[in-house]
């Protein structure tokens, strides 16, 4: 039976000593406000890291393993911004900026493969001028190459290719990127509690002063108190906010991706046209990821994988690299983007790719709760900076953000049991 009790060691800052690793990058010793971050996807992990560097007392709770929701299943594309250059220059600029920052602070989880936008037909070719202007305005370096050069760089490209544009796309490992953020946060004293479900909020009147959680490691309920609670639960954001009586207009928008069983290309290959379904192939680890589609879903466990979407992905992918049709499918999977339905339109793709923060104190009269939703993994650090600034305003402190300079700890220093001080390596499954 679950035990309910107030968890006492929440207010004790656990600065973990990591001898010989030299990565503790802390922060003043002053104890600032205590903050709970719900959700350890790229957003929550980056926020926890950001707030820890600012000196807050942070607890990160996650219902499963870190990066087990939307982030883990994303495209693994380290955006250069090329995909947004025409429609959304602001997003494109931010991508380019964050792309360079991430390469600097966590090179270990990024493959600097580069990317190509390829023109297959006349329509694509006609799009070139618009594309180059967009890239130039967004500060994305480009280089137009001819058919021969494109085929030399990527021999398996569709031979019908007319020209291609080189952009600084990259590939990251989503799980390991989040693990880097979390490992750094842990080293800086953040208490990370994976397998810890939020089941309710502690509210004085309407204001939120903590969360009720059930730890699936301890098998018991706990109450975690804090000055502020941040809801970074992605597509679950709406449901979580509801528990406190707040509203977050999240519209989970699913996308199917197909992982082929080998790398078809060295670089990321995009179709040179307006972003659409199945117009990108990302070489990630031992696979090629073709993506993606976009439709709204209610079901998140698991997110459905319609078969006709798989067919479409393979067909679209084969237009870029014909070998896609004959390569075994290693896996096909769906994830749900947490898009904000501010101005609801028919297709999830049209809704802004940007992110939004909700100060529920100001919006719904529920002080102590902040929600953040939307965004891309590539720009998660920038989102965290934005949220950190908001927290600074809410707590009346003006502490500068340092995440753009501080290198992240290696992913393999993330410890699943880092938040369980009593954890000893003793038991093996019977």
């Amino acid at each position: 039976m679950p035990r309910v009790g107030v968890d006492t060691d929440i207010d004790v800052r656990l600065i973990q000593s990591t001898p010989g690793r030299g990565l503790v990058q802390v922060v003043g010793s002053s104890h600032l406000e205590s903050i709970i971050v719900m959700g350890a996807g790229s957003t929550g992990a980056a926020i926890a890291h950001d707030l820890a560097l600012r000196g807050y007392l942070v607890t990160l709770v996650e219902r499963g393993e870190i990066a087990s929701g939307t982030t883990g299943r994303n495209h693994a594309l380290l955006h250069s911004g090329g995909r947004y250059a025409v429609k959304d220059p602001e997003a494109a600029q931010e991508c380019m900026r964050e792309n360079q920052i991430l390469r600097r602070i966590c090179p270990g989880v990024i493959e600097q493969v580069g990317g190509l936008f390829v023109a297959i037909d006349e329509e694509d070719e006609a799009y070139l001028a618009t594309f180059l202007v967009g890239c130039a305005e967004s500060g994305i370096p480009t280089e137009v190459i001819g058919r021969e050069e494109a085929l030399r760089l990527e021999p398996e490209l569709n031979p019908a290719v007319r020209l291609a544009v080189k952009v600084p796309d990259g590939v990251f490992d989503p799980f390991r990127l989040v693990a880097s953020f979390v490992a750094t946060a842990q080293a800086n004293g953040v208490r990370v509690l994976p397998f810890c479900r939020v089941v309710g909020f502690i509210q004085d009147g309407r204001g939120v002063s903590g969360v009720r959680v059930v730890s699936d490691i301890r098998g018991s309920a706990m109450e975690l108190k804090a000055d502020l609670v941040i809801n970074a639960t992605g597509p679950w954001g709406g449901k979580v906010a509801e528990m406190a009586g707040a509203r977050v207009p999240v519209m989970p928008s699913a996308g199917v991706m197909v992982a082929l069983d080998r790398r078809l290309s060295r670089r990321v290959v995009n179709r040179l046209r307006k972003p659409g379904d199945g117009d990108i192939i990302v070489p990630q680890r031992a696979t090629s990821l073709i993506g993606t589609t976009s439709w709204t879903v209610d079901e998140l466990e698991p997110v459905p994988v319609p078969r006709d979407h798989i067919v479409r992905m393979v067909e679209e992918g084969a237009r870029l690299i014909p070998a896609a049709r004959h390569t075994p499918i290693k896996a096909s999977f769906s994830s749900a983007r947490p898009l904000i339905s501010g101005n609801l339109e028919s297709d999830g793709r049209e809704v802004s790719r940007g992110f939004q923060t909700f100060d529920h104190g100001a919006r719904d009269g529920i002080p102590g709760l902040v929600s953040v939703s939307g965004g891309k993994t590539t720009t998660s650090r920038a989102m965290a900076e934005h949220v950190g600034n908001l927290i600074g305003r809410l707590t009346g402190r003006d502490i500068p953000c340092r995440t753009a300079e501080v290198p992240l700890a290696p992913y393999y220093q993330y410890r699943l049991l880092g938040g369980l001080p009593e954890a000893r390596r003793e038991a093996v499954a019977p």
Binding site: V113, P168, I217, G219, A286, L289, P302, T327, R425
Partner: protein
């Protein structure tokens, strides 16, 4: 079912009804250990991890299991399915259970048990860090390994919990030696660990690690090669050679010559240091 390329006209969607038997409990839970059965009906092409997700979502939200990328690259979702280590995100239920049958899922063995289907990969990561540091693993010579722990669970010797360095870390050490990229511990300690009481000589060539590996790393072959290198004294000279080239810059892309014959993963793209992007 055989591994095959996608073809139009493959069989239509079917469902399977069967019993899922899950290992529940954990060292810190009030109920340390029990089996729990779930009767399920799911599409036959559901992966085991999708099955677990649907159990968590619709039947028991307290079920703990690790998963992340769902396409076999993050290595979090390795579990024992019907007694064998598998990446559950690339194993469909049709592969492992028949209509009306039983499907048993347990956490990996030989690693610390955390809760339900979760085993802690920290000992594996520690040994990998010592013998083949992360940048090498993600981006370089040892890129094939996804650090899932299947080899450790499958090894009859028992992985880090028996003191054994373990198959994947030994394979990383082999790759470090053959390519001359400095391991996290430095060359001296690498040789000591690999040649020590819990190094390659503890292996009993059961080849179970290579069978279990979902990423074709072939740790058993690496261990055998390491033994030959150690017994012939070549390991020492390789390490000495690497050291005489000066301290390897960790974090930098592999700028040296292409990996020598032994490294099996050199078909994977390297970082393109020259191009900048």
């Amino acid at each position: 079912m055989t591994k095959q390329a996608w073809k139009p006209g493959a069989p239509a969607l079917e469902t399977l009804s069967f019993t899922v038997r899950l290992r529940r409990g954990g060292p810190w839970r009030p109920l340390r250990h029990r089996w729990q059965n779930f009767a399920v009906t799911v599409p036959a092409d559901y992966t085991v991890v999708e099955l677990l997700e649907s159990i968590k979502g619709h039947q028991d939200p307290s079920l703990a299991f690790r998963h992340s990328c769902h396409h076999g690259s993050c290595g979090t979702c390795a579990m024992k399915v019907n007694g064998l280590e598998r990446l559950t995100c690339v194993t469909t239920v049709a592969d492992v259970v028949k209509e009306g049958g039983h499907l048993e899922v347990e956490p990996l063995g030989h690693l610390p048990w955390v809760s339900d289907l979760v085993a802690d990969a920290a000992p594996l990561f520690d040994n990998l860090e010592a013998l083949g540091p992360g940048h090498v693993r993600m981006n370089g010579i040892f890129a094939g390994c996804i650090e899932c722990g299947a080899c450790i669970s499958a090894c009859p010797i028992g992985g880090p919990r028996s003191g054994y360095v373990g198959p994947a870390p030994l394979a990383a050490a082999r790759d470090a030696l053959v390519t001359g990229q400095a391991p996290g511990l430095g060359w001296g300690l690498l040789l000591e660990r690999v040649d020590g009481n819990h190094g390659v000589w503890q292996c009993h060539t059961a080849f179970e690690c290579s069978r279990a590996c979902p990423a074709d790393v072939d740790p058993a072959g690496a261990i055998i090669q390491l033994r030959q290198l150690l017994a012939s004294g070549q390991a020492k000279s390789l390490a000495g050679l690497a050291m005489s080239r000066g301290p390897a810059v960790t974090g930098a892309p592999a700028a040296g010559p292409a990996p020598a014959g032994g490294a099996p993963h050199d078909h994977r793209p390297r970082r393109e240091g020259g191009e900048g992007w």
